[in-house]
Protein backbone atom coordinates (compact mmCIF):
# COMPACT_ATOMS: atom_id res chain seq x y z
CA UNK A 1 0.00 0.00 0.00
CA UNK A 2 1.42 3.38 -0.99
CA UNK A 3 1.91 5.92 1.79
CA UNK A 4 -0.46 8.89 1.98
CA UNK A 5 0.61 12.33 0.81
CA UNK A 6 1.02 13.51 4.39
CA UNK A 7 3.62 10.79 5.10
CA UNK A 8 5.59 11.65 1.97
CA UNK A 9 5.48 15.34 2.86
CA UNK A 10 6.70 14.58 6.38
CA UNK A 11 9.59 12.51 5.03
CA UNK A 12 10.56 15.25 2.59
CA UNK A 13 10.53 17.86 5.33
CA UNK A 14 12.27 15.77 7.96
CA UNK A 15 15.21 14.52 5.93
CA UNK A 16 15.02 16.22 2.54
CA UNK A 17 13.94 12.85 1.16
CA UNK A 18 13.87 13.48 -2.58
CA UNK A 19 12.56 10.03 -3.38
CA UNK A 20 9.51 10.85 -1.28
CA UNK A 21 9.07 14.14 -3.08
CA UNK A 22 9.53 12.33 -6.39
CA UNK A 23 6.66 10.04 -5.43
CA UNK A 24 4.50 13.11 -4.78
CA UNK A 25 5.42 14.50 -8.19
CA UNK A 26 4.63 11.20 -9.86
CA UNK A 27 1.31 11.03 -8.06
CA UNK A 28 0.15 14.57 -8.91
CA UNK A 29 1.89 15.38 -12.20
CA UNK A 30 -1.09 14.39 -14.31
CA UNK A 31 -3.55 16.65 -12.50
CA UNK A 32 -1.18 19.63 -12.48
CA UNK A 33 -0.21 19.20 -16.14
CA UNK A 34 -3.85 18.76 -17.18
CA UNK A 35 -4.79 21.91 -15.29
CA UNK A 36 -2.01 23.92 -16.91
CA UNK A 37 -2.81 22.52 -20.35
CA UNK A 38 -6.33 23.73 -19.78
CA UNK A 39 -5.16 27.19 -18.66
CA UNK A 40 -2.71 27.57 -21.57
CA UNK A 41 -5.38 26.29 -23.98
CA UNK A 42 -3.34 23.31 -24.98
CA UNK A 43 0.15 24.82 -25.19
CA UNK A 44 1.85 21.61 -24.08
CA UNK A 45 5.40 22.95 -23.81
CA UNK A 46 4.42 26.00 -21.78
CA UNK A 47 2.14 23.90 -19.61
CA UNK A 48 4.92 21.44 -18.79
CA UNK A 49 7.41 24.25 -18.08
CA UNK A 50 4.91 25.82 -15.70
CA UNK A 51 4.19 22.43 -14.14
CA UNK A 52 7.89 21.94 -13.48
CA UNK A 53 8.12 25.40 -11.89
CA UNK A 54 5.04 24.55 -9.84
CA UNK A 55 6.66 21.47 -8.32
CA UNK A 56 9.96 23.24 -7.67
CA UNK A 57 8.05 26.05 -5.94
CA UNK A 58 6.07 23.46 -3.98
CA UNK A 59 9.32 21.85 -2.84
CA UNK A 60 10.70 25.19 -1.69
CA UNK A 61 7.51 26.09 0.14
CA UNK A 62 6.60 22.65 1.44
CA UNK A 63 7.14 23.73 5.04
CA UNK A 64 4.36 26.29 4.52
CA UNK A 65 1.80 23.62 3.58
CA UNK A 66 -0.49 23.47 6.58
CA UNK A 67 -2.62 20.55 5.46
CA UNK A 68 -5.89 22.45 5.75
CA UNK A 69 -6.60 21.65 2.10
CA UNK A 70 -5.69 18.61 0.05
CA UNK A 71 -2.12 18.61 -1.22
CA UNK A 72 -3.40 18.45 -4.80
CA UNK A 73 -5.51 21.57 -4.23
CA UNK A 74 -2.49 23.38 -2.82
CA UNK A 75 -0.46 22.35 -5.89
CA UNK A 76 -3.17 23.57 -8.27
CA UNK A 77 -3.18 26.90 -6.43
CA UNK A 78 0.57 27.28 -7.02
CA UNK A 79 0.09 26.26 -10.66
CA UNK A 80 -2.63 28.87 -11.10
CA UNK A 81 -0.37 31.58 -9.64
CA UNK A 82 2.48 30.58 -11.95
CA UNK A 83 0.19 30.66 -14.95
CA UNK A 84 -1.13 34.11 -13.99
CA UNK A 85 2.42 35.45 -13.57
CA UNK A 86 3.51 33.93 -16.89
CA UNK A 87 0.49 35.41 -18.65
CA UNK A 88 1.25 38.79 -17.15
CA UNK A 89 4.84 38.54 -18.40
CA UNK A 90 4.06 37.38 -21.89
CA UNK A 91 0.86 39.29 -22.68
CA UNK A 92 0.26 37.26 -25.77
CA UNK A 93 -2.12 34.54 -26.79
CA UNK A 94 -1.13 30.92 -26.43
CA UNK A 95 -1.68 28.77 -29.50
CA UNK A 96 -4.53 26.33 -29.44
CA UNK A 97 -3.87 22.67 -28.85
CA UNK A 98 -3.17 21.13 -32.26
CA UNK A 99 -4.60 17.86 -30.98
CA UNK A 100 -7.82 19.45 -29.82
CA UNK A 101 -10.91 19.03 -31.95
CA UNK A 102 -11.42 21.70 -34.54
CA UNK A 103 -13.70 24.45 -33.37
CA UNK A 104 -16.87 24.08 -35.37
CA UNK A 105 -19.43 26.25 -33.66
CA UNK A 106 -22.98 25.10 -33.42
CA UNK A 107 -24.86 22.23 -31.85
CA UNK A 108 -23.63 18.68 -32.01
CA UNK A 109 -24.34 16.79 -35.17
CA UNK A 110 -25.68 13.28 -35.29
CA UNK A 111 -22.54 11.95 -36.97
CA UNK A 112 -19.98 13.30 -34.55
CA UNK A 113 -18.65 11.64 -31.48
CA UNK A 114 -20.23 12.86 -28.27
CA UNK A 115 -16.90 13.44 -26.58
CA UNK A 116 -15.55 15.60 -29.36
CA UNK A 117 -18.84 17.49 -29.34
CA UNK A 118 -18.35 18.06 -25.66
CA UNK A 119 -14.84 19.41 -26.30
CA UNK A 120 -16.23 21.80 -28.88
CA UNK A 121 -19.06 22.82 -26.57
CA UNK A 122 -16.61 23.47 -23.74
CA UNK A 123 -14.75 25.93 -25.93
CA UNK A 124 -17.90 28.00 -26.26
CA UNK A 125 -18.05 28.63 -22.52
CA UNK A 126 -16.47 31.68 -20.95
CA UNK A 127 -12.96 31.20 -19.57
CA UNK A 128 -14.24 31.28 -15.98
CA UNK A 129 -17.00 28.76 -16.73
CA UNK A 130 -14.48 26.46 -18.38
CA UNK A 131 -12.18 26.80 -15.41
CA UNK A 132 -14.95 26.02 -12.93
CA UNK A 133 -16.09 23.01 -14.97
CA UNK A 134 -12.53 21.74 -15.33
CA UNK A 135 -11.82 21.95 -11.60
CA UNK A 136 -15.24 20.75 -10.51
CA UNK A 137 -15.60 17.74 -12.76
CA UNK A 138 -12.31 16.90 -14.42
CA UNK A 139 -10.24 17.54 -11.28
CA UNK A 140 -13.00 16.51 -8.88
CA UNK A 141 -12.67 19.53 -6.61
CA UNK A 142 -15.46 20.65 -4.32
CA UNK A 143 -17.07 24.08 -4.62
CA UNK A 144 -15.26 25.22 -1.49
CA UNK A 145 -11.91 23.99 -2.81
CA UNK A 146 -12.43 25.81 -6.12
CA UNK A 147 -13.34 28.98 -4.24
CA UNK A 148 -10.17 28.76 -2.16
CA UNK A 149 -7.96 27.82 -5.07
CA UNK A 150 -9.13 30.61 -7.36
CA UNK A 151 -9.91 33.13 -4.63
CA UNK A 152 -13.51 33.39 -5.83
CA UNK A 153 -16.59 33.77 -3.62
CA UNK A 154 -18.43 30.47 -3.22
CA UNK A 155 -21.49 31.90 -4.97
CA UNK A 156 -19.41 32.78 -8.00
CA UNK A 157 -18.16 29.20 -8.25
CA UNK A 158 -21.70 27.85 -8.12
CA UNK A 159 -22.90 30.37 -10.68
CA UNK A 160 -20.13 29.56 -13.16
CA UNK A 161 -20.73 25.83 -12.75
CA UNK A 162 -24.48 26.15 -13.20
CA UNK A 163 -24.20 28.44 -16.22
CA UNK A 164 -21.51 26.28 -17.77
CA UNK A 165 -23.55 23.12 -17.37
CA UNK A 166 -26.65 24.81 -18.71
CA UNK A 167 -24.79 25.92 -21.84
CA UNK A 168 -23.31 22.45 -22.30
CA UNK A 169 -26.74 20.85 -21.95
CA UNK A 170 -28.05 23.24 -24.58
CA UNK A 171 -25.16 22.47 -26.94
CA UNK A 172 -25.55 18.74 -26.53
CA UNK A 173 -29.34 18.62 -26.55
CA UNK A 174 -29.38 17.48 -30.16
CA UNK A 175 -27.23 14.48 -29.36
CA UNK A 176 -28.98 11.12 -29.71
CA UNK A 177 -26.68 8.11 -29.67
CA UNK A 178 -29.40 5.90 -31.19
CA UNK A 179 -29.34 7.67 -34.54
Amino acid sequence: MSPPDSALIARTLASDDRAAFGELVLRHQSAVRHFLRHLTRGDLATADDLAQETFVQAYRGLAGFRGTAEFSTWLLGIAHNHWRNARRRQRDHAPLDPEAPEQTAGPATQHSDLRSDLAVALRDLSADEQLAIHLGYQQGKSHAEIATLLDWPLGTVKTHLARGKEKLRHHLSAWNPQT
Binding site: T12, L13, A14, S15, D16, R18, F21, G22, V25, L26, Q29, S30, R33, H34, D48, A51, Q52, F55, V56, Y59, R60, L62, A63, L114, R115, L118, A119, I133, Y137, Q138, Q139, G140, K165, L168, R169, L172, S173, W175, N176, P177, Q178
Partner: protein
Protein backbone atom coordinates in the same frame (compact mmCIF):
# COMPACT_ATOMS: atom_id res chain seq x y z
CA UNK B 1 -43.62 11.51 -24.76
CA UNK B 2 -40.72 10.71 -22.40
CA UNK B 3 -37.37 11.68 -23.89
CA UNK B 4 -34.76 8.94 -24.06
CA UNK B 5 -31.58 10.98 -24.42
CA UNK B 6 -30.07 14.20 -23.12
CA UNK B 7 -33.38 16.04 -23.46
CA UNK B 8 -34.48 14.90 -20.03
CA UNK B 9 -33.01 17.36 -17.49
CA UNK B 10 -32.07 14.77 -14.87
CA UNK B 11 -30.75 12.31 -17.43
CA UNK B 12 -28.94 15.13 -19.15
CA UNK B 13 -27.33 16.21 -15.90
CA UNK B 14 -26.21 12.72 -15.02
CA UNK B 15 -24.93 11.95 -18.48
CA UNK B 16 -23.18 15.30 -18.81
CA UNK B 17 -21.49 15.03 -15.42
CA UNK B 18 -20.38 11.49 -16.20
CA UNK B 19 -18.95 12.65 -19.51
CA UNK B 20 -17.15 15.57 -17.91
CA UNK B 21 -15.63 13.32 -15.28
CA UNK B 22 -14.40 10.86 -17.91
CA UNK B 23 -12.84 13.52 -20.07
CA UNK B 24 -9.44 13.53 -18.39
CA UNK B 25 -7.30 10.41 -18.79
CA UNK B 26 -4.17 10.03 -16.66
CA UNK B 27 -1.17 11.64 -18.37
CA UNK B 28 1.88 9.34 -18.58
CA UNK B 29 4.88 10.70 -16.71
CA UNK B 30 7.38 10.25 -19.59
CA UNK B 31 10.32 11.48 -17.49
CA UNK B 32 8.55 14.54 -16.12
CA UNK B 33 9.20 13.57 -12.48
CA UNK B 34 12.89 13.03 -13.25
CA UNK B 35 13.14 16.48 -14.81
CA UNK B 36 11.48 18.04 -11.77
CA UNK B 37 13.85 16.29 -9.37
CA UNK B 38 16.82 17.44 -11.45
CA UNK B 39 15.53 21.02 -11.27
CA UNK B 40 15.28 21.06 -7.47
CA UNK B 41 17.79 23.26 -5.65
CA UNK B 42 20.95 21.44 -4.63
CA UNK B 43 21.18 22.63 -1.08
CA UNK B 44 18.48 21.87 1.41
CA UNK B 45 15.78 24.50 1.41
CA UNK B 46 13.93 22.84 4.23
CA UNK B 47 15.23 22.15 7.67
CA UNK B 48 17.89 24.85 7.43
CA UNK B 49 17.31 26.11 10.96
CA UNK B 50 19.35 23.30 12.57
CA UNK B 51 22.35 24.13 10.37
CA UNK B 52 22.07 27.79 11.40
CA UNK B 53 21.89 26.72 15.00
CA UNK B 54 25.01 24.62 14.55
CA UNK B 55 26.85 27.57 12.99
CA UNK B 56 25.83 29.87 15.88
CA UNK B 57 26.98 27.28 18.42
CA UNK B 58 30.31 26.85 16.66
CA UNK B 59 30.74 30.63 16.56
CA UNK B 60 30.01 30.93 20.27
CA UNK B 61 32.46 28.17 21.16
CA UNK B 62 35.17 29.68 18.96
CA UNK B 63 34.56 33.09 20.57
CA UNK B 64 34.77 31.60 24.08
CA UNK B 65 37.99 29.74 23.23
CA UNK B 66 39.40 32.93 21.74
CA UNK B 67 38.51 34.88 24.90
CA UNK B 68 40.02 32.29 27.22
CA UNK B 69 43.09 32.03 24.99
CA UNK B 70 43.71 35.76 25.39
CA UNK B 71 43.57 35.49 29.17
CA UNK B 72 40.22 37.16 29.68
CA UNK B 73 38.91 36.19 33.10
CA UNK B 74 35.24 35.91 34.15
CA UNK B 75 35.71 39.03 36.30
CA UNK B 76 36.83 41.01 33.30
CA UNK B 77 33.85 39.74 31.36
CA UNK B 78 31.56 40.96 34.16
CA UNK B 79 33.20 44.39 34.08
CA UNK B 80 32.80 44.52 30.31
CA UNK B 81 29.12 43.62 30.68
CA UNK B 82 28.70 46.48 33.20
CA UNK B 83 30.30 48.94 30.80
CA UNK B 84 28.04 47.68 28.03
CA UNK B 85 25.01 48.24 30.28
CA UNK B 86 26.14 51.79 31.01
CA UNK B 87 26.60 52.50 27.32
CA UNK B 88 23.15 51.15 26.54
CA UNK B 89 21.66 53.24 29.35
CA UNK B 90 23.23 56.36 27.88
CA UNK B 91 21.59 55.78 24.49
CA UNK B 92 18.27 54.66 25.99
CA UNK B 93 16.66 58.15 25.73
CA UNK B 94 17.12 57.91 21.97
CA UNK B 95 14.71 55.00 21.97
CA UNK B 96 11.87 57.40 22.72
CA UNK B 97 12.59 59.37 19.54
CA UNK B 98 9.57 58.80 17.25
CA UNK B 99 11.66 59.12 14.11
CA UNK B 100 14.10 56.48 15.28
CA UNK B 101 11.27 54.19 16.34
CA UNK B 102 9.62 54.60 12.94
CA UNK B 103 12.90 53.83 11.17
CA UNK B 104 13.44 50.72 13.29
CA UNK B 105 9.88 49.57 12.68
CA UNK B 106 10.25 49.99 8.91
CA UNK B 107 13.56 48.15 8.92
CA UNK B 108 12.11 45.33 11.00
CA UNK B 109 9.04 45.03 8.82
CA UNK B 110 11.19 44.99 5.66
CA UNK B 111 13.41 42.25 7.03
CA UNK B 112 10.40 40.26 8.14
CA UNK B 113 8.76 40.61 4.72
CA UNK B 114 11.94 39.64 2.88
CA UNK B 115 12.53 36.70 5.19
CA UNK B 116 9.02 35.34 4.97
CA UNK B 117 8.21 35.82 1.29
CA UNK B 118 11.46 36.20 -0.59
CA UNK B 119 14.30 33.87 -1.35
CA UNK B 120 15.82 33.26 2.07
CA UNK B 121 19.17 32.52 0.55
CA UNK B 122 19.47 36.23 -0.30
CA UNK B 123 19.62 36.97 3.39
CA UNK B 124 21.23 33.85 4.83
Amino acid sequence: MEPTDLNSPSDADRRLEALLRQAQPELPDHGFSTRVLAALPREKTVGRMPSRLVLCTIGSVVGAVFAVGHGITPGELGAAADRLNESLASVAPLATNPGLLAALAITGASLLFAFRTGDRRALF
